[in-house]
């Protein structure tokens, strides 16, 4: 029996002992990227059936880095429960599925978060008629809260810390929370700030609702890959970093061609005019140039998908560059 098992293990290993993910992706000819089944601003099919959103752009950026072609990506829809097994089993090469980076997911589940492409956090939304400008003024309010989530615990902590009381109205889904808030059955709805923004945008009159400034939890959302394949992790990590660095350096999809003759050394390194950073990643030397050209820098992607000009109207906030009051920070490109 033991012998049989070991033979089986060897066979299984022979099947699984393949080259790295990067080579797999190159041989396959397209990237398989796990996204949500639809979340406003992050990943959702548009009218022509193309996936659009901040996470979808992340997938495309990696496809551009590897193939120089933004269309060489296949989007695999995953749900909150199916996302991790889908990645672990190798059905997708990476996940960009507004997933919160936590220690247990990073360590215990055997994944590697390569960065943060959106800093989210739990917030509060109230009717503007309530006349409240800060969450600390919410003493005695009825709060719509999704049961069994971390938001529930964060809420209890926040109100206890501030010495104020609340009454919880337990709900199951985001839709339920929306209906209850709009019908006036609760005064406050609390969930992740990006979720609040899309709830607000779905209201018949968004101006009647305000998202309060307090953010009471950390929800760093980022792309992740399987543990152990560092080369592939580097490709995804630096695809994200390239977009952030491009914003820092003021390179956009419009001016990227002009920037190739810039006199700033880091710009030249990023765009592949100088150095051989592409080769180090086993990519072509103009990989970052192509990302900026075809997808844009981080700011362009943000503004197009979730920014103040979109119906979601999410201000940059924490997601602004570190030089502009946010915490978005990429290691230097050298």
């Amino acid at each position: 029996m033991k012998k049989l098992l070991s033979i089986f293990a060897v066979v299984a290993f022979a099947f699984s002992a393949h080259a790295g993910t990067l080579d797999d992706v190159k041989n396959r000819g397209f990237l398989k990227c796990g996204v949500t089944t639809g979340l406003a601003g992050f990943a959702a099919p548009d009218d022509s059936g193309e996936w659009a959103g901040l996470d979808a752009d992340m997938c495309r950026a990696v496809a551009v880095a590897v193939f120089g072609d933004r269309s060489k990506v296949e989007f695999i829809t995953t749900t909150g429960k199916s996302r991790f097994p889908t990645l672990a089993s190798g059905e997708v090469d990476m996940l960009a599925r507004n997933t919160t980076w936590t220690i247990s997911r990073d360590v215990n589940l055997g994944f590697e978060f390569v960065g943060v492409n959106f800093y989210d956090g739990q917030g509060f939304m109230v009717p503007s008629a309530l006349g409240v400008s800060s969450a600390t003024e919410l003493d005695g309010a009825t709060v719509c809260i999704q049961t069994g989530t971390t938001t529930e615990l964060n809420l209890a902590d926040f109100f206890r810390l501030n010495g104020i009381s609340y009454e919880a109205l337990p709900i199951e889904t985001n839709d339920e929370g929306k209906e209850n808030l709009f019908a006036g059955r609760c005064d406050v709805y609390t969930t992740d700030a990006s979720g609040l923004s899309s709830t607000r945008a779905a209201a018949s009159n968004p101006d009647k609702w305000v998202v309060l400034p307090e953010i009471i939890s950390k929800e760093p959302l980022g792309p992740l890959v399987r543990h152990g394949d560092h080369q592939w992790g580097d490709v995804v990590r630096w695809s994200l970093n390239a977009m952030i660095i491009a914003e820092e350096l003021g390179i956009t999809s419009e001016n990227v061609d002009a920037q190739t003759s810039s006199n700033v050394p880091e710009v030249l390194r990023l765009l592949g005019v100088e150095g051989n950073y592409g080769e180090m990643l086993e990519l072509s030397n103009d990989w970052a140039y192509q990302i900026i050209k075809q997808i844009g820098n981080y700011s362009e992607s943000y503004e197009a998908n979730v920014g103040p000009d979109t119906p979601l109207e999410i201000a940059r906030g924490l997601n602004a560059l570190w030089t502009q009051g946010g915490i978005l920070y990429a290691p230097p490109f050298r």
């Binding site: 639809g38 296949e74 097994p85 899309s198 998908n305 119906p311 979601l312």
Partner: protein, 377 residues
């Protein structure tokens, strides 16, 4: 004596419209009250729903005459007093609802498959169809044709199932599940009643296990656990895994439905068939099953309708069926907040299919007169 020959007409109160009304709607004062209440509700509701769905609704243009491309342009969002449903979202997304992300240049293949499906169903639905035998041959090979047509191969470009969606996925899951579950269910039902202990025990175990877990669990098992068991190089298509789970689930239920029919057949039928020297298979095929299936038609249709609606659960494992496409549309920032329109449309499509199935089963029951007592005769 003449008076005796005159035929007396039935009392006015039991014939004609007035009679019908009196018997069915105003039989006694509780009935009358209920009738009046229902009429009042309908009076309140029908004009409103007609106005919302048709008269004040936007179909392609809003009340300013502009073509609608996002929710802000819907009449009811421009002016809450003016306008009902905004069907433009269905109009713009119609392709996705029907075909998912199927490439547009290849979409004729899906259309052809839809048409062929109708032709394949014809001989099954109408026994009196001329040249039914030849149509049936087509029905048997239709699944093979449909596979190559939809999936690719044999000279067609391959379209990965990842790009399928909407009604296409709903129909593929529903039709395959129902069509495969029927024969498997019959075998399981016969197996469970078999006198061979091993076969009977295996079938019972299978049925009880599958019936004992919710469909979602099976879907998760197919989607999440299966790939972990398979070696990494072997890639089983996501839709196939879901199809396997759905078929297993439906077969277990179908088996129990048919077993119910089998148990209703009086032992005399078995004895008569055996006394004619029929083998086990001949007896079942010619004598028992035709009767058993005939009396099981209502529950068979019932579980089939159930399965057709249960296919919406595949959203849980990340496959975008009709409802999934609807939800995806709601997540597009252009169409946020149009949930009433989208859920209304999706329910309407499901209603058309399930209502069709239920009417057809009524027609079959009438044709086969399943209501008669066939015990002793």
């Amino acid at each position: 004596m003449n008076e005796m020959n005159e035929v007396r007409k039935p009392p006015v109160a039991t014939t004609g419209i007035i009679g019908w009304l009196r018997i069915n709607l105003f039989f006694n004062w509780t009935n009358s009250l209920i009738t009046l209440f229902v009429i009042y509700c309908l009076y309140q509701f029908i004009p409103w729903i007609l106005d919302w769905t048709i008269f004040s609704a936007d179909f392609k243009y809003n009340y300013l005459g502009e073509q609608i491309t996002n929710q802000e342009m819907c009449s009811r969002n421009l002016d809450p007093e003016n306008g009902g449903a905004c069907w433009a979202v269905i109009y713009v997304r119609f392709y996705q609802f029907i075909y998912g992300f199927y490439p547009r240049v290849e979409v004729w293949r899906v259309n052809l498959a839809y048409v062929m499906l109708a032709f394949a169903l014809l001989p099954l639905l109408y026994a009196k169809l001329p040249y039914r035998k030849y149509f049936l041959y087509f029905t048997y090979i239709f699944p093979v044709i449909a596979y190559f047509l939809l999936n690719g191969g044999l000279g067609f470009t391959e379209v990965s199932t990842n790009k399928w969606g909407g009604l296409l996925v709903t129909l593929v899951l529903g039709c395959t599940g129902i069509a495969l579950a029927f024969p498997i269910g019959i075998m399981l039902a016969l197996g469970r009643r078999s006198k061979l202990p091993v076969i009977s025990m295996m079938c019972t175990l299978f049925i009880e296990f599958i019936r004992g877990v919710p469909l979602i669990t099976l879907l998760f098992f197919g989607m999440v656990m299966l790939p972990l068991f398979l070696p990494e190089g072997i890639d089983m298509d996501g839709l196939v895994r879901v199809l396997v789970a759905v078929t297993l689930f439906q077969s277990a239920y179908m088996a129990e439905v048919i077993r119910g029919g089998l148990q209703a057949i009086p032992p005399g039928q078995y004895e008569a068939a055996k006394s004619l020297g029929m083998s086990y298979w001949r007896m079942n095929l010619l004598i028992i099953l035709p009767q058993a299936i005939r009396i099981s038609i209502p529950p068979i249709v019932n579980t089939s309708i159930g399965l057709f609606k249960d296919t919406t659960l595949v959203i849980i494992v990340g496959i975008l069926d009709l409802l999934g496409i609807g939800r995806g549309t709601l997540a597009d920032t252009n169409w946020l907040g149009l949930s009433y329109e989208i859920y209304f449309f999706v329910s309407l499509v499901f209603f058309i299919f399930t209502f069709g199935m239920s009417r057809y089963s009524l027609y079959l029951e009438k044709k086969l007169k399943t209501g008669i007592n066939m015990g002793a005769d």
